[in-house]
Symmetry: C3
Subunit: 360 residues, 3 copies
């Protein structure tokens, strides 16, 4: 006879510091290879991610319900996972399918919580909330994949700071002339501008337009006259919990509207996933609309952007996180300025969504 | 005149998370050498252990009552210890015997708490509770020392996990086919068996009997027909707080009772001592009843078992400890199965003894 | 229009574990070089220290009031500091002087708290309390600088222990025969003596006089007869929060009063600055009244004293700090003796001053 059978109680949404009923990136598609058992902490929970024999990605809690051994130490039996410690076997729905002990009956509670995944845009997205996963809540970033395969690339960085500091950093682009080098400088043109803001409950969009001479050095080599004036734009859109689509471009054609159809530029996605309240998985994707087939340029470009994040943005954000000693930025009464309009709107919108979720 | 004289207040049994009025292993006999001052944290307390000139082991709190310097930094003066910081000198009863300061009077409170030791079975055992040490509470493991000196060996491992996870691991032997290699495999025969259990307030005993072909590889080379079927047994007995005597053997003689008199096998002791709630001193002793005089085999065997614990059991237990985030295993509502009967009985018996001790 | 404008709320004196309205050493004068931005945590706060173009030292909170980036990562603009993250610029009074964002208006709250400094005796002293800095609260240590420049030297050590343990260590010189080597041994003469004590609310002074043969080895080579008896003295004076002036000397002239006018000796300053409650900046200065011009001896001597602190005193104090597990030494009911009279008086005087400050 089997002894007591109970299930592990989990953190309810109401006690999570994070928005739960939404999509986060769990991994780059290339992180989860072949038959490997990939694992990562996401929203304070250990998560196992692997691909079925047909390639479909699967996610479940990385913890056996028997004696709490990490399942990623186990081995694959077809699409099932066998725990290293006592060989309980679980299928892709987390159901125990084999118990080698005693009479072999499978305890009803022998289930591992699973998480819905969606694979899109070079990333594996995860839904960890209690509500049913809603594909409609993931914005359409199809633009990322709409060009030549050599025009797009993804990267990943681990950051020892709260994820909202990374959102702030992208929503306030006024930092780029101070933190970054010559290559993406606006030559002081951006900071004096007050961005145009659009917003609703689940979106904050900010736009800037300006002229500079020469154009940003990442773009000017693709313009007709690299050393003369060009018109530029930034167009960024935050959606919950922490996705920011950023478009940037430049043109020397007079009067055309500033957008990626008319400009040399790139379409980027910055998105972060809390590991804990004090650490973050930072994912980034970029697609350019020029020399799309150049694979060497593509590799050089994603490497350069990765290095700029690692050496320029992230060290500051990690020190800011340490200095703050809290994740409650607004509670520290910061001195706020015009460049903080968009990030503060995002923080307030996110706080509201989390409060709503916890009350429901 | 001496200034204020008071004693350090110590954690009473009532606030300890551990069973206090019982024996734990403090060290292997060979750890405490010559005139050396050995020290180790045991049950959250720093302990100094050394041998008198006549070899008798002594244990006392590793902390001078004056300014709290660790006494193990001091030096020996015969059988006394002189503190490095201000040269207060203490004898083996912890009594201050010399004060070089002022008029040299010895404050009444200048005493170091001492702990009763007993040296047996290659180990130094310590009693840290408030009640008088009771030698009767240490089970008789004389069997360990009853053979040729080359038939027995001891070893020590430090583990970053709660000691009860180590007790669970030995009380549930069903893990061996999954965690360990070919050498001690039961070839799947053990897991389906429900062990025979005997128990009382201070003992839980579990037994298994099975057949396998060939016999366990640690034993089959000493049987008449190494490649054919043999009958096997495991017989394990827990006594509080954390001592498990394990016997294992195999025979090809029909009908004889399965015990170490009739089988090729070994008599082992697994015992753990909490360093803190999150870390453990793991001691192991083993005596075999075959090729008892072979010193090279003896050395090879203890080394191989030490390595199996270090590389196979301990990494899992440390990860389980981290995953749990608590020492309250039952409070996490694990899915329990037939192989958990013995370890759960042990956990409940120990909890009851600790509760009794704290109420008395 | 600028968004919300508020100031960071800071820890009030009433919640600090430290005496606030007093002087601490922030750095050696030589630590703050040229145009460098030096930074250090003092009393739990990050502090930026740098020199104006005219050499005057400046201290302010090392934290931009906008997004909390450390200012020491920024760059100098003349005597101003420009924050690395968004280029807000602050003058030596902490006032924001340039905002490159939006309309460029400077938010009223865009101020960095500054701290009053005083540069004296080879050190930069800081006042971090709410009351106006009072130069009269720094004792006159002019004696340090009254000789040849080659007769004085300073050094710095970082210690992982509460600062009061360092005060205790100097106020109770009875440790020197046990912790230190031959070179400053009193040959057991010091411990039996009860020091003469003088005290008031803001001072504890202790004095010892004794004879030894030969004299202390740091002094005897400068006496007429190095191998024969000499009279010695120690004269130490604590003033709050943590400054101890120590004079030591020896003479073979009969009957003269024991002081530095009549003896071969040295005038030292031991002073500590809490980094946190668990770590300390330890500063030391020493001036001798013999072979004052010998620059090689001067360098050898400060190096030897630095090494003695690092290898002999500090390891013990760090282990004592760990053993205590609290900063409340008296709360642990230590066994106290005649050698503790002076350090206990100091601890009680400091506790009283902190309590008075928190009630005011």
């Amino acid at each position: 006879v089997n002894a007591e059978v109970k299930t592990i109680q989990f953190q309810k949404n109401t006690t999570s510091p994070f928005l739960m009923n939404c999509w986060y990136v769990a991994a780059m598609s290339t992180d989860v290879k072949g038959e490997e058992l990939f694992h990562r902490t996401i929203l304070n929970k250990p998560v196992l991610i692997y691909r079925k024999m047909d390639g479909t990605p699967i996610a479940m809690l990385d913890r056996c319900p028997h004696r709490f051994a990490p399942l990623h130490l186990g081995k694959r039996v077809g699409d099932d996972i066998s725990c290293l410690y006592h060989a309980l076997q679980f299928d892709c729905e987390g159901q125990c399918t084999h118990n080698p002990h005693g009479n072999g009956l499978i305890p009803k509670a022998a289930k591992v919580p699973t998480f819905t995944l969606m694979e899109k845009y070079g990333f594996i997205w995860i839904w960890m909330g209690d509500e049913a996963a809603d594909p409609g809540k993931l914005p359409d970033y199809g633009e990322l994949m709409s060009g030549h395969p050599n025009s797009v690339a993804q990267t990943y960085m681990h950051v020892n700071a709260n994820y909202q500091l990374l959102t702030d950093n992208v929503m306030d682009l006024s930092h780029i002339d101070h933190v970054h080098g010559e290559i993406i400088s606006t030559r002081g043109q951006l900071s004096p501008l007050i961005p145009k803001i659009q917003e609703n409950d689940r979106m904050v969009r900010a736009g800037w337009e300006w002229k500079q001479t020469p154009a940003m050095l990442i773009l000017n080599q693709f313009l007709p006259e690299p050393q003369t004036e060009a018109r530029h734009f930034f167009d960024i859109t935050w959606t919950p919990p922490s996705h920011i689509q950023l478009s940037v471009g430049a043109t020397q054609t007079p009067e055309v509207q500033l957008n990626l159809e008319n400009c040399v530029g790139q379409y980027d996605l910055h998105t972060t996933t809390p590991e804990t309240e004090d650490s973050t998985h930072y994912f980034f994707a970029t697609r350019r609309n020029h020399i799309e087939e150049d694979i060497e340029y593509n590799q050089m470009k994603i490497k350069a952007m990765h290095e700029a994040f690692e050496t320029e943005d992230i060290p500051i954000l990690e020190m800011v996180h340490q200095q703050m000693g809290t994740t409650d930025f607004l509670g520290l009464n910061p001195v706020l300025m015009s460049n903080d309009i968009a990030p503060v709107k995002v923080r307030k919108a996110l706080l509201k969504l989390i409060a709503q979720e916890q009350q429901s």
